[in-house]
């Protein structure tokens, strides 16, 4: 298994823990209100699981298992692949902090952080699509 895939999957597992913990805390907050900030973490917990774990797991496995890019570079060019990883995880980490805080006490700075998180995650997805597009092909088809 290539390093980039292991990195994607291990990061994904960390987000699974974070997302599950946030979702559990949100449920506890519903039953026993502890702090209003905890009432704002539900969408963050959901996205940590769906994007941080599930999508990241798919990205890592696809980079590993899809038909090779070329004989010399079976997984495709290294830099864009790592850029995809870096952008996605930077976007997710910013979101993890900024989204609940902004829902609890909005501010312009947090608003800009959310916009930055959005740009980073969208950029990562577009890079992934561009990288995988040419690898989705039949045995006889060229790029």
């Amino acid at each position: 298994m290539p390093t980039i895939t292991r990195t994607f999957i291990k990061s994904g597992l960390a987000y699974l823990l974070i997302g599950s913990a946030l979702s559990a805390i949100w449920l506890l907050q519903l039953a026993w209100p502890i702090h209003p900030l905890l009432g704002a973490i539900q969408p963050t917990g959901l996205h940590m699981i769906v994007v941080g774990w599930l999508t990241q797991l798919i990205f890592g496995i696809a980079i590993w298992m899809f038909p090779p890019w070329s004989k010399a570079q079976p997984r495709g060019p290294s830099r864009p692949t790592w850029a995809c990883y870096a952008l996605l995880n930077a976007g997710l980490l910013i979101r993890l902090i900024a989204e609940p805080l902004n829902a609890y006490r909005p501010s312009a700075a947090l608003g800009w952080l959310l916009a930055a998180s959005a740009v980073l995650q969208v950029g990562a997805a577009w890079i992934f699509v561009a990288l995988m597009w040419s690898r989705v092909r039949g045995k006889s088809g060229g790029r």
Binding site: P106, L113, L114, A115, V119, Q121, V129, V136, R137
Partner: protein, 150 residues
Amino acid sequence: MPRLSCWFIRAALLHLAIGVSMGGLILSAKGFPGGMGWAWLLLPAHIQLLIGGWLLQLAIGMAYWILPRLDGMERGRAAAAWTSFAALNGGVIGAALTLLFRSLLPAGPFGVLLTLFALAQLVALAAFGWHALPRLRPIVIPPIGTPTNH
């Protein structure tokens, strides 16, 4: 990778690119509710595209590729699998657009359209289930020394 899997997976990648872009606008709207509040209208389409168009479609495309093949190395029931592709994309794109226009327009035949597109998505799943059922079987590995016809 078979041609139909290429179609499924490339369509899934397009749904991912569009659905995540919508999600980016919605996330930005949380930061700037005054200027970008309109982006919340994209939420139902965002969910449709990413759940049905990306995750589900990718899973079906991969399953068509890697499930065990039938005797003779054929995948079988190709018409059902192609029906699934057409119905899933018609259903997801149609539902996403209908949900979007329902947010923008005061009235329209939205109930009928949503019912039709929901049925199309069900047809897609049923057709793929019909295709895949014969392929869901254990792999029989012959004992060492047994002659095989492969």
